[in-house]
Amino acid sequence: MPHAREARRDRERLADLATGNLEALVELYDRHAASLYRHGLVLCRQSADAEDLVQTVFIKLATTGADLLGVRDAASYLHRILHTGWLDRQRRDATGARVIGEVGYTSARFAMPHVAREDAIDIARALDALPVAEREVVMLHVTEGFSFREIGRMTGVSLFTAAGRYRQGMTRLRKSFGV
């Protein structure tokens, strides 16, 4: 989660970008692209799709204009755009049944974190098996450090729903280890 100084710098860069300064976009990309890519990877499971999502986010950012002046937390704002972009893509690309299958409970393998230890491999596999909504909350909270309130705003649910998804996800992870 960005510190106050970084958040202020982000706001300044967003204001610069609103006036058409593309150097601000470069700085914002360097600061947030990796985190957004991880979020995209958790949602899409495919590197190419995750990169497309990240690209969509920054194109949208570059074309938003004056509304960027009203953004208080750039990181949350960018992740929210990514989540919305992913939902739009789901609606556009998939038939209803496929949408339910992917948004709901699927256990398809996804090449998630490159890991160094056996434990971590097991965790990556267990994470892979979680429903996407729970996987997203677990990743955003643990890896990216967002609060449940911020995650709720990003994903369009309440704070309590986000926290519930996290709790359920952690319970599933623990069960997958036989705890």
Binding site: A18, T19, G20, L22, L25, V26, Y29, D30, A33, A34, Y37, R38, L41, S47, A50, E51, V54, Q55, F58, I59, A62, T63, G65, A66, L69, G70, M112, P113, H114, V115, A116, R117, D119, A120, I123, A124, L127, V138, M139, V142, T143, M170, L173, R174, F177, V179
Partner: protein, 136 residues
């Protein structure tokens, strides 16, 4: 494995980074939007403007609360109004209102009663004058 251990392992996982091509792709595809921000946008989105707007609203409300008390400062309220004002003061303190606001509300209760008494007195004076005029 405990929840804390799971979280620790998740934090320590090395996640892949986006390819370097992506950066070039994003920057090449990003359109330049020039002159999209007007002075009114800057005013509307500025924090100072919002704080000033909120301060004006609070000021108007405060003046509205204080004005009757100031307008009828010389008026004298009855004993019932004093009791009512005391109740307003007590309730305000009980529910945790700021003391200034509680005092203003109590003052307003007194002012309303003072105005009512003044109006009654005026009415009585008029009636007296009317009666005396008829006698003459």
């Amino acid at each position: 494995m405990t929840r804390a251990e799971i979280e620790k392992h998740l934090r320590q996982s090395r996640w892949p980074n986006p390819s370097p091509d992506l950066r070039a792709r994003v920057l090449a595809a990003a359109p330049r939007v020039v002159g999209a921000v007007t002075w009114s946008d800057r005013v509307w989105f500025s924090r100072g403007w919002r704080i000033a707007a909120a301060a004006v609203v609070v000021g108007v409300i405060a003046i509205d609360l204080m004005w009757p008390a100031m307008a009828t400062g010389a008026g004298i309220a009855g004993p019932q109004a004093l009791a009512d004002a005391q109740v307003v003061d007590d309730v305000g303190r009980d529910i945790g209102l700021p003391s200034a606001l509680t005092a203003a509300l109590a003052q307003q209760a007194l002012a309303v009663d003072a105005r009512r008494l003044a109006a009654n007195r005026e009415q009585t004076d008029l009636q007296t004058l009317e009666t005396e005029g008829n006698r003459r």
